[in-house]
Symmetry: C2
Subunit: 236 residues, 2 copies
DNA sequence: AGGTGTGAACTTTTTCACAGCT
DNA sequence: AGCTGTGAAAAAGTTCACACCT
């Protein structure tokens, strides 16, 4: 219930029966990637699980186990080749190809957090900017014209759009989701502070921007007595 | 190791020995809050764990268990009073008071995601905007002048600042963290794509903005064969 | 010698099921 | 009758420890 099947197709020695992957593994894979990318830019070529684990603040066998869900990427007695491992994780997360997305909602998040340039580098590419609110339509956002959400479907036909990002005001979020579903988008990332309902064959992820602040407030308060299990490392 | 002590002081019947709270509980509390807030604005006064669980997409006893870490907020045979529960969660997360923070880094995130007005409503209040990059200093961000990070310490003395948010370019992140630590900030939220090292009495949380997209890419790819454990609900 | 890959032990978290209020 | 609060059972996730490869 908290696991995912591994994308088939690429399976080192693992059988064709796609493995079941803990979600926590996916979360950590992003983390390993971040650390590996910075190691790579520092010119590190080989790393073993022990120092990588320290940099990521996790257990070394955790890393080894996470990786073996997807294949065998290391060399015994040596460690992992940094560049190869980066590529392997890209393949594992399926971010080794282009993902097209649209944004609905000219909010600060829509405008700024998901700025095209930053994501494009990582294979995520924006195809259109929409809004439910007629007063926002027509505006120019980093060179993209904001279109009415009612024209979403016609606009993304044959553009191979898989992901829709909702960054509207809460009251528009459900409408935005409906239009995305209607347009055959299969994955929705919802940054609006409202839960939306979609058919169960559509993948929806609610991102709560307040959560990190809340968690921080809690952690800071709870550690008056220093009873946190280990140091002060809040949720991963 | 993945748990936190509960903030002492408020303990319904629970002993003074502060309980150990799973981090996952804290994450879900934000979620409950979001749903409860929207129920509240719809005028719902009482809700029982079952429908609340459906709206949050979790198990009902999960909610009940999460709540009992902090006290007994429900009425048997009836359910929870929505407004009271909201207040109780606010207290539980320690967001029932004001938290002052500073932002370092005039990036899109610094500028937009963490816009003052939105957070202020929830008790988070910005006290200063800084940057490591001299070319950004002096700019006006929503009425706040960007100050050099070197003046951070003098500026936040006696301003009761607990939280520092880093939204610089990756290469400035460590420097930003050092200045925050130097200024006695005890909680750091790092939105920069670089891990930073701080003394272990400082609480640091790394927020990875790419993670939701990565997770989405993975989920969409893995469900070609529909083997996801249940529906298509990615990581919470 | 050194480090991966991995079954087995252990820990944490979730779910069940029901006693006990209202 | 209905729904919370909660031990006990089940499931999931993490860490250990070591066989095995380079």
């Amino acid at each position: 219930m908290n696991r995912l099947s591994a994308p088939v197709a690429f399976d080192a020695k693992h059988t064709m029966l796609s493995q079941i992957i803990p979600r926590a593994t996916i979360r950590r894979l992003s983390l390993y990637l971040q650390v590996l990318e910075s190691l790579c830019s520092e010119g590190v070529e080989i790393i073993s699980s022990e120092p990588l684990a320290r940099a990521c603040d996790v257990n070394a066998s955790q890393i080894r186990k996470d990786l073996t869900y997807f294949g065998e990427f290391g060399v015994r007695g040596l460690g992992y080749n940094v560049q190869e491992l980066i590529r392997a994780i890209h393949r594992s997360l399926c971010i080794d190809r282009q993902w097209n997305y649209v944004i609905i909602g000219v909010s600060n998040i829509g405008k700024a957090l998901l700025r095209r340039r930053e994501f494009a580098v990582r294979g995520f590419s924006i195809v259109g900017f929409f809004d439910c609110d007629p007063s926002e339509v027509g505006k120019d956002i980093y060179g993209l014209e904001v279109l009415p959400v009612t024209r979403l479907k016609e606009h993304i036909q044959d553009k191979n759009v898989h992901i829709g990002i909702i960054s509207t005001l809460p009251e528009w979020a459900q409408q935005a989701a409906d239009h995305l579903v209607e347009s055959s988008v299969t994955g929705i990332l919802n940054y609006a502070r409202a839960r939306v309902v979609v058919p169960k064959d559509v993948c929806i992820e609610h991102v709560d921007l307040f959560h990190p602040l809340y968690a921080m407030a809690f952690t800071l308060s709870s550690d008056k007595d220093g009873k946190t299990a280990e140091g002060k490392r809040p949720l991963p």
